[in-house]
């Protein structure tokens, strides 16, 4: 028993090093940070909700055009991307687990694997985009792709580009943050007493994954 309480004591001292003067205890600081992050995630959900509303409105008006246009997207690449992102969600959760249990090596490895999986996601996206540009499928007015008619199909692809584009930007931002955290983890900044940044980056990354979980069926499958 003695050593666990000693480890407990050590973790408490290291945590106090990060305690801000206006907080009363590091638990309060950690809970405040997490609540702030959850509120930020709500704003991200509402940001994407705008695009889901645009998708729903035009789907209700032109169901058959949307069904036809979505056949142009390759469901296999979409499915692969979904599994890649689910994997990255797992590894970021494992990273948090490692930080909580003071396994620094596992933390660094998991963070880097997450970044790699995210990069793989972006590469698959790159191929999808270039394939479409090659066919002449551009957003809105520059749409030059005859097979499916000219009227509402460009709107489907505009919504597709806006949704996946903004989601892609969020993936890139996530990659940047996770890489920065991995570098700090290598220098031993995070341990069971102080791992808030890893926790918050994990929450953000899970949300980016959830957005793709909804994007995949709506755009690729139905």
């Amino acid at each position: 028993m003695a050593n666990t309480s000693a480890a407990e004591q050590a973790a408490k001292e290291r945590a106090l090093a990060h305690l801000k003067h206006y907080f009363v205890s590091s638990d309060q600081q950690f809970d405040a940070a997490k609540m702030g992050m959850w509120l930020f995630l709500v704003t991200e959900v509402l940001l994407f909700s705008g695009m889901f509303v645009a998708y729903a409105v035009y789907r209700v008006w032109y169901p058959e055009v949307f069904a036809v246009a979505s056949t142009e997207l390759n469901p296999w690449l979409g499915g692969l991307n979904t599994v890649v992102l689910l994997g990255s969600s797992l590894t970021v959760a494992l990273a948090i687990h490692a930080a909580q249990t003071d396994k620094r090596r596992a933390l660094v490895v998991n963070l880097f694997v997450t970044v790699l999986l995210a990069a793989a996601f972006m590469v698959v996206k790159y191929f999808e985009y270039t394939h479409k540009f090659h066919l002449g499928i551009f957003p809105g007015e520059y749409f030059a792709y005859e097979e499916m008619g000219q009227r509402i199909v460009p709107i489907f692809f505009s919504i597709y580009y806006v949704m996946t584009g903004i989601h892609g930007v969020h993936v890139l931002v996530g990659m940047g943050v996770l890489t920065w955290l991995a570098l700090r983890a290598m220098r031993g900044h995070f341990h069971s007493g102080y791992y808030t940044p890893v926790e918050l980056a994990g929450l953000y990354w899970h949300l980016v994954d959830i957005i793709w979980i909804f994007l995949f069926p709506l755009l690729y499958l139905i």
Partner: protein, 569 residues
């Protein structure tokens, strides 16, 4: 009027004097511009918001001056449209949304909660600079061949007019982030940073209203972000979602825009409610009547505010089903506002009412907001709105609520907390004269607009039929009187900075923590000992003996780290 001198010496140790209060403890420019102290950030907001208000006011006076006579006086149609657009944009995004949360909210929230600072001070400073960048970009949009789309920038007109709409969309996108981060910051502060003993039903009503405003800011502003982003892409890549030529639907843009903009009007008025609750209670020296009713009606307005945006679009071509649903829910949201007004009036019953300037503004708020409210009920009626929509009646309605409501409440709050912010007293006579001028000018300006509107005068017209000339002239004269009143306020407040009498710690006999637990100006970390709260915010009858007997100190048996807010989420 008897000054309440007997009880404003609070238990201040000697330490405060050497270190100086939040203003004097550091003098350099950097200590102000990059300060993490919520009170100094509040001051930065105050200066920028005042400049934005001055700018918006000048545009308003130009618009009214052009309308003095029919035909083209000194503004061409194009520049008149730019003028009213800029008046709208600068006033909405530059002044009225950030003003009370940014200035008074920042300054007072930690003080009201008994906390040392907000939950995320760095985020607080970042929010200020994002807001500043947003206002700067609006000015760039103004100079670069300005915007003539009105503050609503409806497509397809906004998609085809001059290029400066791009600057405008960027400015609004960035200023939106400032609003989101402030909202997040305040919600976490209220949940996590309350002093021991400060339970939810002991929070001052100003905190309740700022909390409700933050809920609306967090839930509504992201949709403005996506709306403005889609408009930006519409103009750059012609993505066609709002462009009828490509099969898009301009009414969808109105849905996106008003999903943010109606809750935004509650972002504007809720803080005003908070200030009026504080003023009415303190100057009637009476506990608020129906404390929980007022507190919960703020939250109810915040949440219901998201279900009513369609009442801006009754004649825009939306389906009759949605118009009927929106009109019905619009009525349900009128009720909480009514509850508040009735409860404020009931608070004055059996009170001991003093008529200092803040109370004059609070009473004129009650009168003007009632007019704003009932005209809101009028434009909420489906059949009558068909006649009144987009006429000066609507202009009169929302100015009664925004100028007669929020701006008057802000002026009341400014005078009420002026001694606590600057440590000086302003001249009471000048204050009352200015309040009268503003009241008269406001009614003259906007009541005539109500009459013009119901007679069929459309809004956003730079030229009008001769029969409206007299009413326009009345309205313009009214705007001069109100302008003079506001200018007078600016003068005597600035004068009081240098030559005002020194104020005590509690010149009005307020009962909330910033009056009873800090010196004339709060020191950098607000409180010497985190206050242990044992009473409600408006229990004036319990102040004297409590302060005298130091019973506000934590009771000896309380464990040192007893933090009641820990176990409560």
């Amino acid at each position: 009027m008897t000054e309440d001198k007997d009880r404003n010496e609070t238990p201040q140790g000697q330490a405060a004097e050497e270190r100086g209060d939040y203003v004097t403890h550091a003098k350099s420019i950097g200590s102000w511009l990059f300060s993490l102290d919520h009170k100094r950030i509040g001051m930065l907001y105050a200066v920028t918001v005042a400049i934005a208000f001055l700018l918006g006011g000048v545009f308003a006076l130009l618009v009214r001056a052009e309308l003095l006579s029919p035909g083209e006086d000194f503004l061409s149609a194009q520049s008149y449209n730019q003028m009213f657009s800029l008046h709208g944009i600068v006033m909405v995004f530059g002044f009225i949304i950030p003003a009370i949360p940014g200035f008074l909210g920042n300054f007072l929230l930690p003080l009201h909660l008994g906390a040392k600072d907000v939950a995320f001070p760095r985020l607080n400073l970042a929010s200020y600079y994002l807001y500043l960048l947003g206002v700067a970009l609006i000015l760039v949009a103004m100079v670069a061949g300005s915007v003539d789309t009105g503050w609503t920038f409806y497509t397809p007109y906004s998609a085809r007019t001059g290029p400066s709409v791009l600057f405008l969309t960027m400015a609004v996108f960035i200023a939106g982030f400032a609003s989101i981060f402030t909202g997040i910051n305040f919600i976490v502060t209220v949940h996590k940073m309350r002093a021991p003993g400060m339970t939810w039903n002991r929070l001052p009503l100003f905190v309740w209203s700022i909390y409700s405003t933050s809920i609306v800011q967090v839930l509504a502003t992201p949709v403005l972000g996506i709306t403005v982003l889609l408009l930006f892409l519409e103009r750059l890549l012609h993505i066609g979602i709002f462009d009828p030529a490509l099969g898009g639907d301009p009414i969808l843009f109105q849905h996106f825009f008003w999903f943010y903009s109606h809750p935004a009007v509650y972002i504007m008025i809720l803080p005003g409610f908070g200030i009026v609750s504080e003023l009415i209670a303190t100057f009637s020296r009476q506990r608020i009547y129906g404390y929980m009713a007022i507190a919960l009606s703020s939250v109810a307005i915040a949440l219901l505010g998201f279900l009513v945006w369609g009442h801006h679009m009754f004649v825009a071509g939306q389906s009759v089903v949605s118009s009927v649903i929106f009109s019905l829910i619009t009525y349900l949201i009128g009720i909480p506002s009514g509850i508040k007004v009735f409860n404020w009036i009931a608070t004055m019953y059996k009170g001991s009412i003093s008529f200092k300037t803040p109370m004059l503004y609070a009473l004129s708020f009650l009168v003007l907001f009632t007019i704003g409210g009932v005209t809101g009920i009028m434009v909420g009626v489906l059949a009558v709105d068909v006649h009144l929509h987009d006429t000066y009646y609507v202009v009169g309605h929302f100015h009664y609520v925004m100028v007669g409501g929020t701006t008057i409440a802000l002026l009341g709050g400014l005078h009420y907390w002026w001694p606590k912010i600057t440590g000086r007293l302003y001249s009471e006579a000048a204050g009352r004269l200015a309040a009268l001028l503003v009241f008269v000018g406001l009614n003259l300006t906007f009541f005539t607009q109500l009459v013009m509107g119901s007679r069929g005068m459309p809004r956003r017209y730079n030229d009008y039929l001769p029969e409206f000339t007299f009413l326009h002239q009345l309205s313009t004269v009214g705007s001069w009187i109100m302008g003079a009143g506001l200018f007078l306020v600016a003068i005597y407040l600035l004068v009081s900075l240098f030559r005002g009498k020194k104020a005590g710690a509690n010149p009005w006999g307020g009962a909330t923590l910033e009056w009873t637990h800090t010196g004339p100006r709060p020191d950098p970390h607000n409180f010497h000992r985190t206050p242990f709260v044992t009473r409600g915010p408006y229990e004036f009858d319990r102040i004297p003996e409590l302060v005298a007997a130091h019973r506000d100190e934590p009771p000896p048996d309380a464990q040192p780290d007893v933090h009641l807010n820990q176990d409560r989420t």
